[in-house]
């Protein structure tokens, strides 16, 4: 039997999960909140203390080596069956091993699948590394047995929303910090907050991140390592599930029986998985020179303290930085390229042409710094064929033509054509999206070039800036560096000979035109999607609407457009795109968000809307630019 002896944090004094719970309960932080609440509500502290214990029990992990062994054993069986291989960067593992001994470690994996954290724990176990404790959503708790098993393998559970509940917040935050401070185990959570259904990296959530950073801000630890981890799947286990969900077929509740039903995927092939452990990033280094120490010196450290603006900004920057690192290390499979080409050549493309274009895209991707995993031992034909085979549920090769399958519901219910078409396009889109993360800067420059029909750098930058702003919920941009993003986009395009940049002008080269067109087309679904939504909004007559109503309305609107064939933009049906667009409009003050007793309602500012719509129709307003630096 394998002997599991992980390296541990240098300052670690061994303790049991129950001891941690106890010390959380007795901590000044939690006791302070309990006393406060008891004063405010007039209840005895004992009752509130009881509540705190319940919260802890509901939440707490119960890391148990037996469960780990059980999991490791069964997971290795399952993984071997459904995945061809799992690739891990060994030097990343070594760095992690080093980091774990030095300072508390926070693992920040990307989140594309349920498999993510199982896979990660499994990998750490097999590499003799300390098993992380994982912040997981409460959804899992609903699964009998499995919930408990997960708990024993180190998961702790958090409610999805608990902003208002001070006791919950205090207990949860203290629980996380206690584990972090004493180096009990690496903490793992998902910056994205939930699984990305579109394979695009979701904009980060800041709550948990600010909790794990706080011990450093208060200097309770010398440093904290943040480790971005990129997990990429050649084929995502939940691919069709996600597509349904995006189209509004509700997500099945996690249940053990559901899991059992999922057994049939065991007979399927899901290709390979790449797990890339990024270089551990020292929080201290990130914070150096950025944090005014005063606020933390003037208040006792156990008092809950609102984050200063400065800190909030810092947390935001760190979150984005980590996500950008995840993106940088995300492995792209050949299929990602194929899907991107395919989506621009619907309904069908000649196989030879597909191979040719895929190879061309391969070169471009590499030039843009994409982390491509290309089977160099195979000839291009074979590589493409094997990718097509792996994704035969989405595409087929018919008479030398590659076409999208009609994906029907398993139960055979007759679906409208549009719906079927949308399903396969969304599934395919989820793979193309992986490419967008890498292509977004040069592509937006290409889109701007197209929209402005101008050579003037200022104008193009202005348009780029507008697009970047519009899509900042859709893609990950580091806050506040539009100019740098623009320059990077231009640099990559120049490098590939697509454009020439002079001090005042940007010119598309003759050779580069086709590349520019491709790049712009890559983002067309988003451009069009947002246009359709703004058109919808300008027709919306209701005074105020909820998000649900908005999504239903837009869905109907889009269905009609698609049915009559006045658009080919199926992706506007994606609820992800719809929600992002709504958030964008709220951010741009086109739509006003108001809190009511039961949720939020939205109202439209027609004037602002028409302005934005105009801009989309490539009427870039003359804006004064910060041109001095251009």
């Amino acid at each position: 039997m394998k002997c599991y002896t992980p390296v541990i944090y240098k300052g670690l004094s061994a303790c049991k999960p129950s001891a941690i719970k106890n010390s959380v309960l007795q901590s000044e932080q939690v006791q302070y909140v309990i006393k406060q609440l008891s004063k405010e509500m007039g209840e005895s502290t004992d009752i509130i203390q009881e509540e705190a214990i319940e919260i802890l029990d509901e939440m707490g992990h119960n890391l148990h080596i037996g469960a780990i062994r059980f999991f490791a054993f069964s997971l290795s069986k399952i993984f071997k069956r459904i995945f061809q291989r799992v690739c891990v960067n060994e030097e990343g593992i070594q760095k992690l091993q080093q980091a774990i001994q030095e300072h508390p470690v926070v693992l920040l994996p990307s989140h594309r699948s349920y498999i993510d954290f199982l896979m990660l724990s499994y990998l750490l176990y097999t590499h003799d590394l300390a098993l992380p404790v994982i912040a997981a959503g409460m959804d899992f708790l609903g699964m009998k047995i499995v919930g408990e098993l997960l708990r024993r393998s180190g998961a702790f559970f958090m409610r999805r929303t608990f902003g208002g509940n001070r006791l919950y917040w205090a207990v949860f935050a203290e629980y996380v910090k206690t584990m972090l401070r004493n180096g009990y185990a690496p903490i793992e959570f998902f910056l994205e907050g939930t699984r990305s259904r579109t394979a695009k990296t979701l904009t980060p959530k800041f709550g948990l991140l600010s909790i794990v950073m706080e011990p450093f801000f208060k200097r309770e630890v010398f440093d904290t390592y943040l480790v971005p981890i990129s997990i990429s799947y050649e084929r995502i286990l939940e691919e069709s599930l996600y597509a349904y969900e995006l189209l509004g077929v509700p997500k099945p509740k996690e249940s053990t029986s559901g899991l059992l039903k999922a057994r049939k995927i065991l007979s399927d092939n899901f290709g390979s998985i790449h797990v890339y452990f990024g270089q551990p990033v020292s929080l201290r280094t990130l914070a150096s020179g950025r944090i005014n120490r005063c606020p933390y010196n003037l208040v006792p450290r156990h008092l809950p303290q609102r984050l200063s603006e400065e800190i909030q900004e810092f947390v935001t920057d760190v979150a984005y930085k980590m996500e950008l690192l995840q993106i940088e290390n995300m492995v792209l499979s050949p299929w990602v390229l194929i899907a991107s080409v395919l989506l621009q050549n619907l309904p069908a493309i000649d196989f030879e042409l597909l191979v040719e274009k895929t190879l061309w895209l391969k070169g471009l991707t590499q030039a843009f710094g994409g982390f491509l995993e290309w089977p160099d031992n195979l000839c291009a034909n074979k590589a493409v064929t094997s990718s097509l085979a792996l994704h035969s549920n989405i595409v087929s090769l018919v008479n030398g033509q590659v076409v999208l399958n009609d994906v029907g519901m398993e139960d055979g219910a007759t679906e409208e054509l549009v719906f079927k078409q949308a399903l396969s396009i969304l599934m395919c889109g989820a793979y193309r999206n992986q490419l967008l993360n890498v292509f977004v800067r040069p592509s937006l420059v290409a889109v701007a070039l197209q929209m402005t029909q101008s050579f003037r750098k200022e104008e193009i930058y202005s348009c780029f800036n507008f697009l970047r702003d519009i899509f900042s919920d859709e893609f990950i941009f580091f806050p506040g560096i539009a100019l740098k993003d623009f320059e990077e986009g231009c640099f990559l395009l120049t490098k590939c000979d697509v454009i020439q940049v002079t001090p005042q002008e940007i010119l598309v080269t003759e050779r580069g035109n086709s590349v520019a067109v491709f790049l712009a087309a890559l983002f067309r679904p988003f451009m069009e999607g947002y246009q359709i939504i703004s058109r919808y909004l300008s027709k919306e007559t209701k005074e105020a609407f909820t998000e649900k109503q908005f999504i239903l309305g837009i869905r109907n609107f889009a269905f009609q457009l698609l049915e009559i064939g006045s658009t080919q933009c199926y992706e506007v049906l994606s609820s992800d795109l719809q929600k992002n667009a709504l958030a964008t409009f709220v951010r741009l003050d086109v739509v006003k968000k108001m809190k009511t007793t039961n949720g939020f309602t939205y109202t439209i500012n027609k004037e602002a809307l028409s302005k934005t719509a105009e801009m989309f129709d490539s009427q870039i307003p003359i804006r004064k630019l910060v041109t001095a630096r251009l």
Partner: protein, 705 residues
């Protein structure tokens, strides 16, 4: 050997070389500038008497016995059964007291306050331990007395020379190994200082002849000799000592004056105003904040105002228990002379052998036994200071008054930027009947801190209580003298076995608190029990009187160690801070770690020695003292690297909620953080005071602001 037993590591001793450390005391200056340290010197007259209950209540008797002891020691014999240590103690005390012949006649000690003896030094009746020509007995390029230093003898063993300290004349067999192991130092790689001060390197003295004429007319003693001027151009920061060993200061005082009394100071300040000169007050020269450094771009003549000849106790008021004293008196002389009347101030900064009363006031000094006697701000009843605006003093000598902000607080900590403190009325106490050392071993630092916190909470801290971390504890072990008998080493082995094996303390985790109790016998014993009972609750084991005593003794010799390190490519410093209780552990850990990390980043090839002790306790927090040393072989600009690391460490302290300084002061070394520390408005307040008191910046050392 056994670490915890023998030697002192524990204590205070700590470690490192630096002068600053609390310990030792050298230097300082009264000068207003910075002072070094806090705690005290071990060797005060009192502690010198041989038997464990060392204090006799009758001063005369005590004096007698000490003299006898000194004589006996001089004759070379001690009671055989008493260990050599006792003997040393007596020798030292004999030394500190001075030979009977040199002691001032009693009658002279009560002079009428304002009377100034005429200027010439020949007429000075009160002999100070430190002569006017400091170079006669003090090192010009290092810490302390010429005759006391660490050397490696022919057998390659470390030895401490001289006769002044308990450790003097002893061989320290494990020090070499410790230096090799902990610092990567090697006897092969030696770098020696210049042997002599080359007077031709010294910047010339530029003094206006008219001023000299006026000065001569006052009959105040002065000198323009290079040696005198260089001696007063620096404190004991690392970079200053480095310059002495290998280079020369860009700017030094042009002239040194020795006023003999308050009126002399008034005359000098008047002359300075008249001729537009810059005055830098100098007391004991123990500054560790660059406070004595002359601003390189000062174009005016710089006058070093050495207060050392104003060293009389002008009167003792036994009804109110106060004494009125000239500010130039140095700590050891003050305690010795008060001791002759049965009193003490109880103020024992580690630099007390050399630092002066005026310097304590000017830098807000802290003493080792502040738990009983208080820090300087608690001790001072009245201050007289000469400023360019005139003399500032209160009209009465009362315990407290409500008359607006206390003007004493403009003076204390002014670091020589406002004027010269000339006379101070200070509280005195009868010499305590009984003194007892002690020590406690804790399984780890956290438990030790928790125990100190509890003791502070119950307000039952002994006169001194210090907690050293494991590294410092082990360092103390390295300073353990050769064990005389097989029996002792056997005993040490047994103790070690008991602590580490039987009690399960990890030798790489355990740490030690050293204790000093004072008072009447009964109460001391009672107090001792109370403290040990608390310690037991935190897993502390009593580790004996000898350990405690040695810890405090070592505090004094440790400053000498830096000079040894400097010969072998090892540089080091100490620095201090104060911090709320709840952040003590985090601050200690983080600062030490920061030092280690910075060293690595700066290319230091051997892991540095980075250690701390909690050296004072208060109701709301503690004072923490750090030592830091590293081997700079392979680094081209060690001083620069050192300064970067020290800056980083201070940043770390501030980020952890610690203060800019607990007792070393700001000087010029820490000026950059003043604004952040006391806010814009706070700094503006101080500036406007300076502006009013000294609009022409006569006191132009540029400290603090």
């Amino acid at each position: 050997g056994v670490p915890w037993t023998g030697t002192g590591c524990r204590g205070g001793g700590g470690a490192l070389p630096r002068h600053r450390c609390e310990g030792r005391g050298p230097v300082s200056a009264g000068g207003w500038a910075a002072k070094r340290g806090m705690p005290g010197v071990p060797i005060s007259a009192r502690s010198a008497s041989p038997s464990p209950s060392r204090v006799t209540s009758h001063p005369a008797a005590q004096r007698g016995s000490a003299m006898a002891a000194a004589a006996e020691a001089a004759a070379g014999g001690g009671p055989g059964s008493q260990p050599a240590a006792q003997r040393r103690l007596r020798i030292i005390s004999g030394h500190l007291r001075g030979s009977p012949a040199s002691r001032a006649p009693e009658a002279e000690r009560l002079l009428s306050p304002s009377q100034c003896r005429a200027g010439g030094e020949a007429e000075r009746p009160v002999a100070s331990t430190i002569p006017k020509k400091r170079q006669e007995i003090l090192k010009w390029n290092g810490w302390g007395y010429n005759d006391s230093k660490f050397i490696f003898n022919k057998k390659g063993q470390a030895e401490f020379t001289g006769k002044r300290y308990r450790l003097s004349g002893m061989v320290l067999p494990v020090l070499k190994e410790w230096m090799e192991k902990s610092l990567g130092a090697s006897l092969e790689h030696k770098i020696t200082s210049r042997a002599f001060l080359n007077t031709s390197d010294v910047p010339p003295s530029i003094v206006n002849e008219e001023f000299l004429q006026d000065l001569r007319a006052t009959k105040i003693s002065y000198s323009q000799e290079a040696e005198d001027r260089v001696f007063r151009a620096h404190g004991h920061c690392l970079h200053e000592i480095f310059v002495l060993r290998e280079g020369m200061f860009k700017r030094i005082p042009d002239i040194v004056v020795w006023p003999g009394c308050h009126d002399d100071v008034v005359k000098i300040v008047e002359l300075a105003c008249k001729h537009n000169l810059c005055i830098i007050p100098f007391g004991g020269g123990t500054s560790v904040s660059s406070a004595l450094e002359c601003p390189a771009d000062e174009r005016r003549t710089i006058v070093s105002l050495d207060t050392s000849q104003m060293n009389r106790i002008l009167w003792i008021d036994e009804k109110n228990l106060t004494a009125h004293i000239e500010a130039g008196i140095i700590g050891q002389d003050l305690e010795r002379q008060l001791g002759e009347s049965g009193y003490c101030t109880g103020h024992e900064p580690d630099s007390m052998e050399f630092s002066s009363l005026g310097g304590w006031v000017a830098t807000r000094a802290s003493g080792m036994k502040k738990n009983i006697y208080g820090n300087i701000e608690d001790l001072v009843v009245h201050i007289k200071m000469v400023t360019p605006r005139g003399v500032i003093e209160k009209s009465c000598q009362v315990p407290r008054m409500s008359t607006g902000p206390d003007i004493h607080h403009f003076i204390m900590g002014s670091e020589g930027t406002l004027g010269v403190v000339t006379e101070v009325t200070i509280k005195i106490r009868p010499i305590p009947e009984y003194q007892k050392y002690g020590s406690v071993v804790f399984p780890n630092f956290d438990r030790g801190v928790a125990c100190l916190r509890e003791i502070a909470k119950q307000r039952c801290a002994p006169a001194s209580i210090r907690l050293v971390d494991n590294a410092q504890f082990q360092f103390g072990h390295a300073l353990k003298p050769q064990v005389a008998s097989i029996f002792t080493s056997f005993l040490d082995g047994l103790k070690k076995f008991y602590i580490t094996k039987f009690k399960g303390f990890d030798p790489n985790e355990l740490c030690v608190a050293t204790l000093l109790f004072e008072g009447d016998r009964e109460k001391v014993l009672q107090h001792e029990k109370q403290v040990y009972d608390i310690a037991a609750k935190f897993g502390g084991l009593a580790a004996g009187e000898d350990n405690g005593q040695r810890g405090y003794m070592l505090t004094f010799v440790i400053a000498y160690l830096r000079d040894l390190g400097l010969d072998y490519y090892v540089i080091g410093e100490s620095f201090e801070t104060s911090v709320p209780w709840d952040r003590v552990i985090d601050l200690c850990r983080n600062v030490k770690e920061r030092i280690v990390r910075e060293c690595k980043e700066k290319g230091v090839q051997f892991a540095p020695f980075s250690t701390c002790r909690v050296t004072q306790t208060y109701d709301a927090g503690a004072c923490v003292y750090f030592y830091f040393a590293f081997n700079y072989r392979g680094i081209s600009d060690p001083i620069h690297v050192y300064e970067q690391i020290e800056t980083a460490a201070r940043e770390e302290i501030l980020a952890n909620g610690g203060s800019l300084s607990h007792h070393h002061g700001v000087g010029k070394l820490r000026k950059q953080w003043m604004k952040e520390s006391i806010s814009d408005v706070g700094l503006g307040m101080l500036k406007s005071v300076k502006e009013y008191v000294d609009p022409n910046n006569i006191f132009g050392n540029r400290n603090l602001l």
